[in-house]
C-alpha cells in the first residue's frame, strides 16, 4: 500500500503563518498542470507493485483548480497506477472556494474527503492570519459541503495565536464541535522562518503566547474533543468513528509515498527525496528532462530516528517488536535504556510491548524524541 501526494503551489494570497511552498502568480498554472502530468507519468514505475490507498491534493490551495483539471489529474493517475477499491482521495480546500458550483462539481469527481482550511471561527483571528474568509464563511462553507453530500470532512484549526485567550479558543472548539465534522486537525501556531508571523515575532510586533497559556489551550482541546467522542490518534489530529486520515497516517507508519509537484516529498523506505522548491525550476527541469529533486539515502540510524519521530506522534506508538525486527541490537538496547527514564517519569507508557506518550509526555514530545534519537 502506498500514497500519492500532489502539491498545487498556487494561492490567491499568502497567509501569515504558512511556510508551504506557494506562489500567488497564477501565470504558469497551465504549464504547471502539464508538467505535473509528465511527472506523474514518468514516475509510474516507482510504485508499479503497490496498490494506492490514498491520494492527497495539498498546497498551496488545491481548490483553485477547476473541476475538469482535478478530473484530468485523477484520470491520469487511475490510468497509470493501481488504485485500491477504497482509495481515500482528499482535497484541501479554502472556505471561500467552496461555492455551490464548485461543490456540486466535486460530486462528479472521485474526491471523497475534504480538508477545509477553516483555521478559526473568529473574525479577528482570521484577519490577523491574513485568511481570505471571515467567520461566517467558515461556518457556511462546512455546512454547504455537508449539504452537497460530502460525508468525510476534516477541518483545520489553529491555536496558540498571539493574544488568543482561553475563551476565544473555547469558542472556536465549540463551534467546530457543533458542526458534526468527522475529523479535526488542530495545530498550535509555529513561527516558521520566512513567514510574516516570524518576522513580526523577530521585530517585536507580536509576542509568542506564554508556555502556560498555550499548554492550557492544548489541554482544553484534548479534554473537550475527547468528551465529544473524538479520538486523538496523533499529536494534532482527532477523528470520530476511526475516520483517520488514511493518507497522513501512512506518513507516520512509514508507508511509501510519491509526491508530485514542486517541493513535494517522496519516500520509499530507503530514500527520501524532495522536488525543487521553486515552480520555475520545476517547470524548467521537467521541460528539459533534467533532475528536479534532491534525495538522501537513509542509513540505519536515519531510519531508526525517523521511526522515533513518526511513530511516537501517534496513539499506536513505538513497538518493541517492530524495533527488534527492523533494527540492530545496538539500537534496540539504546532505545530501551533511554525509554526507561521516561517510563519512570511517566512521560511514556508501555502496554502490549508498545511505548506511547502519556498526556504529560505529549507536551514535551520533541524533547523525548530527541532523547530517544541515536546520534553517533
Amino acid at each position: 500500500m502506498a500514497g500519492i501526494y500532489i502539491h498545487i503551489p498556487f494561492c490567491k494570497t499568502k497567509c501569515h503563518y504558512c511556510d508551504f511552498y506557494k506562489t500567488t502568480d497564477f501565470g504558469a498554472k497551465v504549464d504547471f498542470l502539464s508538467a505535473l502530468k509528465k511527472e506523474i507519468e514518468w514516475r509510474k514505475s516507482e510504485l508499479e507493485q503497490e496498490e494506492i490507498a490514498s491520494i492527497y491534493f495539498g498546497g498551496g490551495t488545491p481548490s483553485v483548480l477547476k473541476i475538469a483539471e482535478i478530473n484530468d489529474i485523477l484520470a491520469l493517475i487511475d490510468q497509470l497506477y493501481k488504485l485500491s477499491t477504497d482509495v481515500e482521495i482528499t482535497l484541501e480546500a479554502n472556505p471561500d472556494d467552496l461555492t455551490p458550483e464548485f461543490l456540486s462539481g466535486l460530486k462528479t469527481t472521485c474526491i471523497n474527503r475534504l480538508s477545509i482550511g477553516t483555521q478559526s471561527f473568529n473574525d479577528h483571528d482570521l484577519k490577523s492570519m491574513n485568511r481570505r474568509h471571515n467567520s461566517q464563511q467558515a461556518l457556511t462553507s462546512i455546512r454547504a459541503a455537508q449539504e452537497a453530500g460530502i460525508t468525510n470532512i476534516s477541518i483545520d484549526l489553529i491555536y496558540g495565536l498571539p493574544n488568543q485567550t482561553l475563551e476565544d479558543w473555547t469558542d472556536n472548539i465549540e463551534k467546530a464541535l457543533s458542526l458534526n465534522v468527522q475529523h479535526i486537525s488542530a495545530y498550535h501556531l509555529t513561527y516558521h522562518e520566512g513567514t510574516v508571523f516570524y518576522d513580526y515575532l523577530k521585530t517585536g510586533k507580536i509576542k509568542e503566547l506564554p508556555d502556560e497559556l498555550s499548554l492550557q489551550q492544548f489541554k482544553l482541546l484534548l479534554s473537550r474533543l475527547q468528551q465529544a467522542g473524538f479520538e486523538q490518534y496523533e499529536i494534532s489530529n482527532f477523528a470520530r468513528n476511526r475516520l483517520y486520515s488514511k493518507h497522513n497516517k501512512a506518513y507516520w507508519e512509514r508507508k511509501k509515498y510519491l509526491g508530485f509537484g514542486p517541493s513535494a516529498h517522496s519516500y520509499d523506505h530507503q530514500t527520501r527525496r524532495w522536488n525543487v522548491l521553486s515552480l520555475k525550476k520545476y517547470l524548467q527541469a521537467i521541460e528539459t528532462n533534467s533532475n528536479f529533486f534532491e534525495q538522501e539515502v537513509l542509513s540505519e540510524q536515519d531510519q531508526y530516528n525517523d521511526y522515533m519521530i513518526t511513530s511516537l506522534r501517534t496513539k499506536w506508538g513505538i513497538s518493541s517488536i517492530y524495533l527488534k525486527e527492523n533494527f540492530g541490537e545496538k539500537f534496540v538496547e539504546y532505545f530501551k535504556n533511554e525509554a526507561e527514564k521516561y517510563l519512570d517519569s511517566k512521560h511514556l507508557r508501555l502496554d502490549n510491548s508498545c511505548y506511547t506518550l502519556s498526556t504529560e509526555g505529549l507536551f514535551i514530545s520533541d524533547r523525548i524524541m530527541e532523547e530517544l534519537f541515536f546520534v553517533e
Partner: protein, 594 residues
C-alpha cells in the same frame, strides 16, 4: 660589520606594520612578486587572520646605496601586551627602530611603551607616518603628537604608505644613514643574544640570535649561558625568505642556529649563546617568562583527556611560555590547569587546540596567582580558586598588581576613570599628549584585568582607547571565594576569587547571566551564588512545560529529524553537572557580565 643595520618596527596593531614591511622586502628584492604573499612576516594562519604577529621573526635584506652594499636585518616584534618580554629582547638585538604611526589614528598606548623600551636600549628612532593614502589621514595632528613624544623635528618624520609605496625609499635611506652599525668586537669571546625561537617538526628548535661580540662557525661547541646546556652548532645561517646556511657568522650578524634541541623549553628568549671553550658572561636583561593568567582546560568528552595532553605537549614544543599541569574538577572531570602570558595568549592557545588538534575544550574562568599567608606562617601560591585553603586558616592574601598606561580621546577620560576605579584601580598620573588625547596611568589588580576589562575599555571608548601594562608586584587584598551552586550542588569550575566589596553584585550578575545561558530543562534549576555557607543571590531556570511540533507530514520528516539530531549533538557538547546540562560558554559566564 660597518654595513650591517639591525632594526625593528614599533607599531600598534593595525597601524600597517606588516604591509610596510612587505614593501621593504619588495623594494630590496628580498621577495619576488611571485612569492609576495600579502604580509610575508605573519606566516601562521592564525596570525594572518588576526592581523597581528604572535611570534617574532627576522628577515635579512640586501640594499645598495650610493654604490655601497648594505645588509639590513629587520627583526619583527609581536604587537601585543602579553608578549612584552619578547618585544624587549627583540629591541635589545637592534640599533634602530622604525616608529610607525597610523596617520588616521595617532599614537596608541602599546606604541608608547615599546617606544620607551627602544629608547632605554639607545635605539635610533625613525618616525614614520603610515597610511598617508587614506583620505582621513591627519598628518599635521599626528606629527605634533610624534614631535611631543620623541622631540624630533617635523621634517624628520617620513610620510609613507604601505599600500602605495610612498616613502619607502626614504625609509631605506634613513635606515642606512641614521641607524648606527652594530658595535662589538669579532675577536672577543662569542656572545649572542637569543631573541626568539621557533619549533620545526623536522629540525627541532631553531633559535634566532644576534651576535653582540665574537664569531660563530658551523660545528662549534656552544653553551647557553642561563640554561647551562651545551650543544653542537649543527647548522648556522641567516634568515632570508627561508633559512640560508652559512659557515661563519660574526659580530652584528643576525642568524639562526640548529643544534638538535627537542623542546622549546630549552631555548629561553634572552639567553646568551657562547662558546663552550671560551665562555663569556650572560647578556643582561634575561628573565624567566612567567605565566600570569591561569585557567582550567578540560576536554568536553572525558575520553579525550589523553589526546588533550598530547596536544598540549605538542603546543608546548613551540610555545615555551605555555605551562600546564593535571588538575581535576568535580564538575568537569580531568583536565589541566594552564598558565598563559595573558588573555590573548589564552585565546590563541584555545584556538590552536581547536584548529590544529580538533580538540573541543571547556576553558574555565581565568584567574591570576595569589599568595596566601596562612595562620601557621606558611606562604602558598594559589593558582585556582578551589586551591584556596579554608578561610579560618588564612591570615592574609596578596594579589598581583600591574601598572597600566591607557591612551584615550579626552572625551572618554571620565568613563575610563570610572571603569578603572570600579576595577579597584588607583590613578597614578594623567598627562595630555595633545588637547584631544590623554595618557592615564593606573595601578590595577591584574585579577580585575583578566575578567572583562579589555572588552569594556574598548566599548566605552568606542574602540579607540589603547592599553598596556607591566607587572609591578603583589599587594594584600580582601578576597573571598564566590561559589556557584546548581540545584544545590557546588560547581567548582564556576568558583572565582574576587574582592569582598564586589562579591554581592558579582554573585547577582553571575546568577542572572547563568540563567540566560543555561537552557531550560525538564525540571526547575536553582542557580545560587554563595560565599562559604551563605547564599547571596539566586535565580531559577524554569522547567520546559511544552516542547512539541504541531505538524509532521511527509515533507516535514527529514527536516525534523535533522533538527533534532542537531539539537542532540549540541547537548552532547554540554557538560552534565549533577543532573543539569550546562553549555560550554556558561563556564566563561563571568567574563561576559554586562
Amino acid at each position: 660589520m660597518n654595513n650591517i643595520r639591525n632594526f625593528c618596527i614599533i607599531a600598534h596593531i593595525d597601524h600597517g606594520k606588516s604591509t610596510l614591511a612587505d614593501r621593504l622586502l619588495e623594494v630590496t628584492k628580498t621577495v619576488s612578486g611571485r612569492e609576495m604573499k600579502a604580509q610575508v612576516l605573519d606566516s601562521m594562519d592564525l596570525e594572518q587572520e588576526r592581523g597581528i604577529t604572535i611570534k617574532s621573526h627576522a628577515i635579512q635584506m640586501d640594499y645598495v646605496q650610493d654604490g655601497e652594499k648594505y645588509v639590513l636585518n629587520l627583526i619583527d616584534t609581536p604587537g601585543h601586551v602579553d608578549f612584552s618580554y619578547e618585544v624587549s629582547r627583540s629591541i635589545a638585538a637592534c640599533e634602530g627602530a622604525l616608529l610607525i604611526i597610523d596617520a588616521t589614528q595617532g599614537i596608541q598606548a602599546q606604541t608608547i611603551s615599546n617606544l620607551y623600551l627602544a629608547i632605554e636600549h639607545d635605539l635610533e628612532i625613525i618616525p614614520i607616518l603610515n597610511k598617508m593614502d587614506l583620505p582621513n589621514a591627519m598628518p599635521e595632528v599626528v606629527e605634533d603628537q610624534i614631535i611631543d613624544l620623541i622631540g624630533c623635528k617635523r621634517e624628520e618624520i617620513i610620510r609613507a604608505s604601505g599600500k602605495t609605496g610612498e616613502g619607502v625609499d626614504e625609509i631605506l635611506r634613513n635606515i642606512v644613514e641614521i641607524v648606527p652599525a652594530p658595535k662589538g668586537n669579532p675577536e672577543e669571546p662569542l656572545q649572542a643574544l637569543i631573541f626568539d625561537s621557533v619549533f620545526n617538526s623536522f629540525r627541532g628548535v631553531i633559535a634566532y640570535f644576534k651576535i653582540v661580540n665574537g664569531t660563530i662557525n658551523q660545528g662549534d661547541s656552544v653553551k647557553f649561558v642561563n640554561t647551562k646546556k651545551e650543544y653542537n652548532a649543527d647548522e648556522i645561517g641567516v634568515l632570508r625568505l627561508g633559512m640560508e646556511k652559512r659557515k661563519t657568522l660574526s659580530t652584528g650578524d643576525v642568524g639562526y642556529i640548529i643544534s638538535g634541541i627537542k623542546t622549546a623549553k630549552e631555548v629561553k628568549v634572552g639567553d646568551t649563546i657562547t662558546h663552550k671553550e671560551r665562555p663569556t658572561l650572560a647578556i643582561s636583561g634575561f628573565e624567566e617568562v612567567k605565566p600570569m593568567v591561569f585557567a582550567g582546560v578540560y576536554p568536553i568528552d572525558a575520553e579525550d583527556y589523553e589526546d588533550l595532553r598530547a596536544a598540549m605537549e605538542k603546543l608546548q614544543l613551540n610555545d615555551a611560555s605555555l605551562t600546564f599541569e593535571p588538575e581535576s574538577s568535580a564538575a568537569l572531570g580531568f583536565g589541566f590547569r594552564c598558565g598563559f602570558l595573558g588573555m590573548l595568549h589564552m585565546e590563541i592557545i584555545q584556538e590552536r587546540l581547536d584548529r590544529e588538534f580538533d580538540m573541543n575544550v571547556i576553558t574555565t574562568v581565568p584567574n591570576v596567582s595569589y599568595k596566601v599567608h596562612t595562620t601557621s606562617g606558611e606562604t602558598i601560591t594559589v593558582y585556582n580558586p578551589s586551591g584556596l585553603p579554608a578561610s579560618t586558616t588564612i591570615d592574609d592574601i596578596e594579589e598581583p598588581y600591574i601598572r597600566s598606561q591607557i591612551i584615550t580621546k579626552s572625551d572618554f577620560i571620565g568613563s575610563v576613570m570610572t571603569l578603572c576605579l570600579e576595577k579597584r584601580g588607583t590613578l597614578i598620573k594623567q598627562d595630555y599628549l595633545t588637547a584631544e588625547r590623554a595618557e592615564l596611568t593606573f595601578d590595577l589588580p591584574l585579577g580585575e584585568i583578566v575578567f572583562d576589562f579589555y572588552d569594556k575599555l574598548k566599548s566605552i571608548s568606542k574602540g579607540y582607547a589603547s592599553f598596556d601594562y607591566h607587572i609591578t608586584g603583589y599587594k594584600p587584598a580582601k578576597l573571598v571565594r564566590l561559589d556557584i551552586l546548581l540545584n544545590g550542588e557546588m560547581v567548582d569550575a564556576l568558583s572565582s576569587l574576587i574582592h569582598f566589596d564586589n562579591a554581592y553584585p558579582m554573585g547577582r550578575r553571575m546568577c542572572e547571566k547563568l540563567k540566560e545561558l543555561i537552557p531550560r530543562q525538564q525540571f526547575d534549576i536553582a542557580i545560587q551564588a554563595a560565599i562559604g555557607a551563605k547564599i547571596i543571590a539566586r535565580e531559577t531556570v524554569k522547567a520546559v512545560r511544552k516542547d512539541v511540533t504541531a505538524k509532521c507530514y511527509g515533507g516535514d520528516i527529514s527536516r525534523k529529524r535533522k533538527l533534532l539530531e542537531k539539537q542532540k549533538k549540541g547537548k552532547k557538547r554540554m557538560k552534565q553537572v549533577g543532573n543539569v546540562e550546562v553549555p560550554q560558554n556558561a563556564f566563561l559566564a563571568v567574563l561576559k557580565l554586562d
